[in-house]
Amino acid sequence: MRIDNQIAKILKKDFPIFRSNLGLVYLDNAATSQRPASVINAIKEFLERDNANVGRGVYSLAERTMKKYSSARKVVADFINANENEIIFTRNTTESINLLAYTIFSIIPKNKDEILITEMEHHSNLVPWQQLAKRNNMKLRFVKIKEDYTLDMDDTKKKLNDKTAIFAFAHVSNVLGTVNPIKDIIELSKEKNVMTVIDAAQSIQHIPIDVKDIGCDFLAFSGHKMLGPTGIGVLFGKKELLEKLPPFNFGGGMIGKVTKEDSEWAGIPEKFEAGTQNIAEAIGLAESINYLKKIGLKEVREWESYLLKYALKRLKEIPGIKIYNPGDEKSISLVSFNLPGIHPHDVAGLLDEKKIAIRVGHCCAMPLMEILNSKGGVCRASFSLYNTLEDIDLLVDSLKEIQEMFK
């Protein structure tokens, strides 16, 4: 079903937060999305009816939990067209990337000593690689961004070389909204025998992802940015690579056999899931995927694109506004901007008085802020399927009023 402004208003009713906070204009979806009642209820129902530990109990309650947990993994696998044993549950994107950064060195060929990332990375896809490079005397290199806020593909080609071990890059920039040409990047990486890691935190709710079609080696995302709970994230990895990787955490649930002297590991994905997992959150995540599937990711994408187009058009009415976005065809539904001479924190503080929530500051991308020459950070409005044209009108009208106040 096509989403329009009327449908978006109806969809908003699926999200109880807007009943508890009347008048809330939530435009910080890139930080965390809201959860529909179906997700909240799925968690509540699980805790009330089925709660036990997984992979351990032999009683019927535990079996029921195990079944739900396993089917949650299947829902996630199907959503990105992966196999079930290629889905590792983590806490979030950050933990997924750290898992890799802490284990991947042992499978890097000896003749390779460069890690490639881009200038538009979130700290979570920058610091783990920076530290891996430091620990092992590797070189961390950055692909440049162009003046139109897209990735410099010529620079990508230049910096991908025979020494490159890993190329880790954002599918979508959390500041610029830029959607990177991931299939082209993967193809170029394969030519140089480079392992690829996609940070899909900002794309997973907005763009359909098929890991087999994309051909990436690893892909990471969080539940809470896709209408799901916090505390649950995913690392997808190709089976043959996951089998080669050593475990990240040691403990219960991840072993095959333990003696006083040594241990053997369980198969994938259990090898990477030590300790009791966030079971309820995994079930909640599956429910958020069911919700998104019911509405249709294609439909979500179309509506959100329309919202961005409308937002860009209206924001441009503001005299002197600086917009950091490559345009609606190359971006997901988020837009960063600055009002001349007004500190982003003041913009957010004043918008808050109208119950409008936006993100301001460096947005966990300090190196990018330097490139944008925006030390004080930016204002970022990010939209989701439940946002309406009225939300954007309120934002833009309020920004105009703020500008008046500072005259």
Binding site: H343, H345, G349, L350, V360, M369, G376, M405, F406
Partner: protein, 124 residues
């Protein structure tokens, strides 16, 4: 927006002080100075003090920041003129927030405390 403002942090007297700050500029006869940084938002405020006999005789500030941090710097530099160093060292969040005569939200505490941090650093 007007109704919102009277309820919130951006009251008229605060915005006026932001537009026409007190003690903004360079202090020629400064005896000590320090800069406070807020890595969260890039704010940077330098405080210059002229101290004699354990008393702050004059104070000025410069730098860039949001309304709340700059207004805090204006009011604080006004306030500490004539104060004993030992008394300034005792100043805390509560006293700074009181100067604003309006409620400052917890997420903005860092902003309003930045100038005090710089002053205390200058007194070290």
């Amino acid at each position: 927006m007007e109704q919102g403002i009277t309820k919130g942090m951006y009251k008229k007297h605060i915005l006026e002080l932001y537009k026409n700050p007190s003690n903004f500029g360079v202090l020629e006869n400064a005896t000590s100075s320090a800069t406070g940084y807020n890595s969260f938002c890039g704010d940077e405020i330098t405080v210059q003090l002229a101290i004699k006999d354990g008393i702050v005789r004059d104070a000025k500030f410069s730098g860039s920041g949001c309304v709340l941090s700059l207004v805090s710097a204006s009011m604080l530099t006004d306030n500490i003129k004539g104060m004993k160093i030992s008394d300034i060292k005792k100043m805390d969040e509560k006293e700074i927030k009181k100067l604003f005569k309006t409620k400052i939200s917890s997420s903005r505490s860092k902003c309003v405390l930045l100038p005090l941090e710089a002053v205390k650093k200058a007194l070290e």
